[in-house]
Structures are given as C-alpha cells and as structure tokens.
C-alpha cells in the first residue's frame, strides 16, 4: 500500500487489516497469518499442492486489496491476445 498508494505505515496496516478482515495486531502474527493466507489463497510459506503460488496468488492479492498490480495486468493482457 506504500508502493501503490503512497500510504504511511499506520494507514497501510489499517487498510490491509480491514481488507483481510483481521485486526492490525494479527498482521504480524505468523500463526494467524498462515491461516489467513491459506484461507484467502494469497501465498503461504510452504506451498502445498493445489495452493495459489506466484502470479496466481498475486491475482488474489490485487483483488482483495483493490489495487492494480502491473504483472497481473500484463498476464491478463497476454492471455487475452
């Protein structure tokens, strides 16, 4: 959110926490975030079979956070050709 909207850290944390439906303090809890990332399919530390990885996860991230991610846009454009 700092990169896409120039948000300062507190604003960025609140934005992401609200979008993910969690508290700000949960953002830095590795146990909670592993579950959140697995539930939302936005990429996890240990990529098990079938879970979203790389560009797949980025599609989800872009959607969840309502941001434009350049490589996601590029991927969409490439496969639409």
């Amino acid at each position: 959110m700092q990169m896409t909207r120039g948000m300062k850290i507190k604003q960025a944390k609140k934005y992401v926490a609200d979008k993910l439906g969690i508290s700000i303090s949960d953002l830095t809890d590795p146990v909670i975030m592993t579950e959140v990332r697995d539930d939302l399919q936005i990429g996890v530390m240990t990529p098990l079979p079938g879970c979203a990885k790389g560009i797949e996860a980025k599609f989800k991230i872009a959607d969840l956070l309502d941001i434009d991610i350049a490589c996601v846009r590029r991927f969409r454009d490439m496969i639409a050709k």
Binding site: Q2, G6, M7, L27, K53, A70
Partner: protein
C-alpha cells in the same frame, strides 16, 4: 559501576559507563542539530536511546505493534557477494521465503543504469519470469552513478581533473552534460522494466557523485512519474548531505549543494518520488551511541517533513550501522529499534 558493552562506528567493541553513554548520546544529537539546523532529541528520547543501549541483550526488537516493512537494494548481487552462487530468481525467492523480505529488488551485478542500458533486453525476461514466481512486490534498481559518464569511462571531460586546474566553468558544463545523459539512461531502462511489469523502480545511491547526481535522479523521477503516474519510485540516497561538486545546480529553485535529509525529502516529494530513503553516514571514530543519536536526529527531522513513506537506509556505514561487511546484530538491532520507535518510520 555498570559498564555497558557497545561498539565504535567501525565495529570495534567498547565499554562505556552510564555517564559516558549519556554524554555520547547528547553529543551525537547536538552534532546533528548543529550541522543540519534541526531540533536535537528531547530528554525523553535520549533516555529511550539510553535504555536501548543499556539493555543486556545481544539482540533487541520493537514492541508489538511497531513493526515496519523492509525494502532492499541490490539483494540479487549481495547474495552472490557472500558466495551463495544462485541464479537471481532463486535469490529473490531466498529473500522472500527464508529472509522474510517484504519487497525485493532485481538488479544486475554491474549495478548502474549506464551499463544496463545495452543489456536491458536480457534483463527484462528475468524480471518477467521472477514476477510470475514470487509473491512480494519487485523493484528493478540501479544507480545513476554519474562518475561513469566522465572520461576515461564515459564521454565527457572529467570534472575531477578540471577542478584542480581551476576550470570551474568547464567542470560545471561537464557535470551538466553527464546529468543529461544519465537522465536518458535512467528513463530508457526504467521504461523497459515498467513495460515488463516492475512494481517499482529503485534509484539507488543517489547523490553519490554530488549535486549533479542528485539533480539527474530528481529529473528522471519527475519524467518517469509524468509518463507512468501509478509507478512506485523509491529514491535511496548515498550520503547525508549533497556534495556541491557543481555547487550551483537547482531543482525547482532550490540549490542542491549542502542539503540534509529533511530538505532532500521535500524535493524528492516534488519530483514524484513514492518512497524516500535517507542516509546518515557512520563516523568510525565515534561510538555507536553517538552515531545513533546523531542519525536519529536527522531522520526524525526528515520524517517530520515527509508526506511520503520514509525507509531509512540501514546498512554498512549508514543509519548508525557499523562499517563492516557483516554488521554485528547487537548494533543493527539497536539502531533499527531506535529508528522505528523515535522517528515514526514507515520502513527500513
């Protein structure tokens, strides 16, 4: 009497008494206040630094809730520097999965925009592939490195040779010409990388060759932002104040020579920079407490002026980190904690 273990700026271990520690902290902030014409740290802030240094732990961290994000420069070449000879895409994955990076930067080992220009079509596919396999935002980064534009490495007369001969006008003209070419090179490579999907462009060690170097980066940032309004531009500095090698260059009517971080960030914002990375240089003859009090004073003033996120440079010799290839974690962690908790930083 309690002896507090710390280090000099070159990493040499040092023991200070409580009185000596507080004296170094007071002298460090006073030095920054005098040099930069910024407010010194308050008694409470100095006490906070005192508590950080006197904590009897090898590693310290922030209190929960004060965590910040980390951005990196030149990661894909630094991992090779330690002899881990992986491909750059693997290097990005190592940083993401094993080192906890929140964002990363793809870069070339010849880390300047001028040499990258001729091989940019080999760089683009690497970035495009990396973006498919990683989860974190990826920058593409390099240095303006104005020195490469001076003879014998570059096309223009060398100001370092002209200035001792008293040829001031000729040296200034050479700096201006070099800056113009550097802007073209930064734009050329950056545009290619944006087309390939880079989440951001990192202009690194800006100002390393003086005010003309800073000038070139600001112009490039402005032009890049005009062309791509949504692109993230991170601008990381090389030193704590702008060396007036040209001495008369201005950006938006402000002379660049002699600017400290709190004034540098204002111009960066005006140029369209998204994230600003100030630098404070480490003095190897002074203690880490002296250096950290000094650095925090400058960075706090910078953050007070910033409307954009600030990610202070914390690495070898900058941000009160010791001048070692592998800085000791006791000092890195103390410097990081102090920076985050006193300066209201957005990242490191």
């Amino acid at each position: 009497m309690l002896k507090i273990r710390t280090r000099y700026g070159d990493g040499t271990p040092l023991e200070l008494s409580e009185r000596e520690l507080m004296a170094d902290l007071e002298n460090g902030t006073a030095d920054a206040a005098e040099c930069g014409n910024v407010p010194a740290l308050s008694k409470e802030e100095l006490q906070h630094l005192f508590d950080i240094f006197s904590a009897p732990y090898s590693f310290v961290s922030v209190e929960p809730g004060n965590e910040v994000v980390l951005s990196y420069d030149a990661g894909t070449l630094k991992i090779r520097r330690v002899g881990v000879n992986v491909d750059r895409i693997q290097a990005l994955q190592i940083y993401e999965k094993l080192l906890g990076a929140d964002s990363m930067e793809l870069c070339h080992i010849d880390y300047s925009f001028k040499p990258i220009k001729s091989i940019v079509t080999m760089e683009q596919p690497i970035l495009e592939q990396a973006l498919l396999t990683t989860h974190i935002p990826l920058f593409y980064g390099a240095m303006p490195n104005l020195g490469l534009y001076s003879q014998p490495d570059g096309p223009f007369p060398n100001p370092a040779e002209l200035l001792p001969l008293g040829k001031i006008d000729e040296a200034q003209a050479a700096y201006e010409a070099a800056a113009e070419e550097a802007v073209k090179d930064m734009l050329y490579t950056s545009e290619k990388m944006v087309t390939s999907g880079a989440d951001g462009i990192n202009l690194d060690t800006v100002g390393g060759a003086g005010d003309a170097d800073f000038f070139a980066a600001l112009i490039a940032a402005r032009k890049l932002k005009e062309r791509y309004p949504d692109i993230c531009i991170e601008l990381g500095m090389a030193g704590e104040f702008i060396l007036g090698m040209h001495s008369e260059l201005e950006f938006d009517g402000v002379r660049l020579a002699g600017l400290y971080p709190h004034d540098q960030v204002k111009l960066a914002q005006q140029a369209g920079v998204t994230i600003f990375g100030p630098v404070v240089n480490t003095n190897t003859s002074e203690s880490c407490p002296w250096n950290l009090a000094r650095a925090v004073t400058f960075v706090k003033a910078c953050c007070n002026e910033a409307r954009i996120p600030v990610h202070v440079n914390m690495g070898m010799g900058v941000g009160a980190v010791t001048v070692n290839d592998h800085p000791p974690i006791d000092m890195v962690s103390r410097a990081s904690k102090a920076m985050v908790e006193i300066c209201r930083l957005d990242g490191l």
